[in-house]
Subunit: 188 residues, 2 copies
């Protein structure tokens, strides 16, 4: 079973090392890993051409993969990396098994409250809102409901990890738990 | 042609008004609009159940739709709303036409630089990085390349609007341009 390893690791200074570590763990669990950055890109003339090549290569790997494990740890803000969110949607759209994890245990509601420095209020309809009027959604979910919703409604699991602050980008415990759960379901 | 209107409008204090305005514009352009929030939700016992119902209803509308127009205006940070990013991926995975717009003309590279207060540097491999070591990606794209990449490689268009700061959440010029382009291609 081939699994696509989605996540913002590609943006880390030690990207190649992290991608290799995750790929090795996936192999040890019995899977064939496919990671962004695995394939050689054709030469490109402009930055935009290069971006389109990367998009094509990553989607090609998703078409080839039989499932995905996505790192939805909040990235530069309240929520997951949007590229990874796109990829989870893409795999759900293709009807392929999707699993995900986050290395931050603090839930979506609380992270939104943190973003507003604790200031939020309940409006006349009972909706919690920040000082800018935007909903502070309170669904007991780990991020915008479309992400865990799409995953869990298809039988996938979102593993909530709790990495120490310095290891939020590199800890693999929650990822390994995804591998274990997927192996149990698909590799017996 | 049914089009799904994806975007973070559902989080606005005047959500219903905005969704209605966009739906009316879509109808005027010749489309049948489907918006999150259009359908009645079944009663749910827990917050999680309600979240899963919303996810199911929104995905049901995407299965029914023949295309999507997504509002990818940056939402509470550098990038688009992750729920909307999931939905763009979902529609691209389903192979349906995807169009998108942003109401903020400032590009992704510059928004990342703003996030770092202007501090970034070029590493030995020529990669631009913020003080935290993360890539400041510089692809001449309006957000993470997977979003415009998935849309443009399928023949869709990302319209770059430039709304005044106070109308970033409510301006419909770029949305109307998406409608015009889609109508030109699909409704003649």
């Amino acid at each position: 079973m081939k699994i696509y390893l989605a996540g913002p690791e590609v943006f880390l200074p030690n990207a190649r090392e992290m991608l290799n570590r995750k790929a090795a763990l996936a192999r040890a669990a019995g899977f064939i890993p496919l990671s962004p950055g695995d394939l050689e890109l054709p030469p490109s003339k402009t930055r935009r051409d290069k971006a389109l090549s990367i998009s094509a290569v990553d989607e090609q790997m998703m078409y080839e993969a039989d499932g995905v494990i996505a790192n939805l740890t909040p990235y530069r803000g309240i929520s997951a990396d949007v590229g990874t969110a796109y990829e989870v949607g893409f795999m759900c759209g293709l009807g392929k098994p999707a699993y995900a994890y986050t290395n931050i245990a603090r839930g979506h509601f609380q992270r939104q409250v943190d973003y507003y420095g604790g200031r939020y209020a309940t409006d006349a309809e009972g909706e919690t809102r920040g000082p800018d009027g935007l909903t502070v959604d309170n669904f007991d979910m780990m991020d915008n409901l479309m992400l865990p919703g799409g995953i869990e409604r298809r039988g996938g699991v979102v593993v909530i990890g709790d990495a120490p602050p310095r290891a939020v980008e590199t800890d693999t415990k929650a990822f390994e738990e995804c591998l274990r759960l997927m192996a149990e379901k698909y590799l017996r």
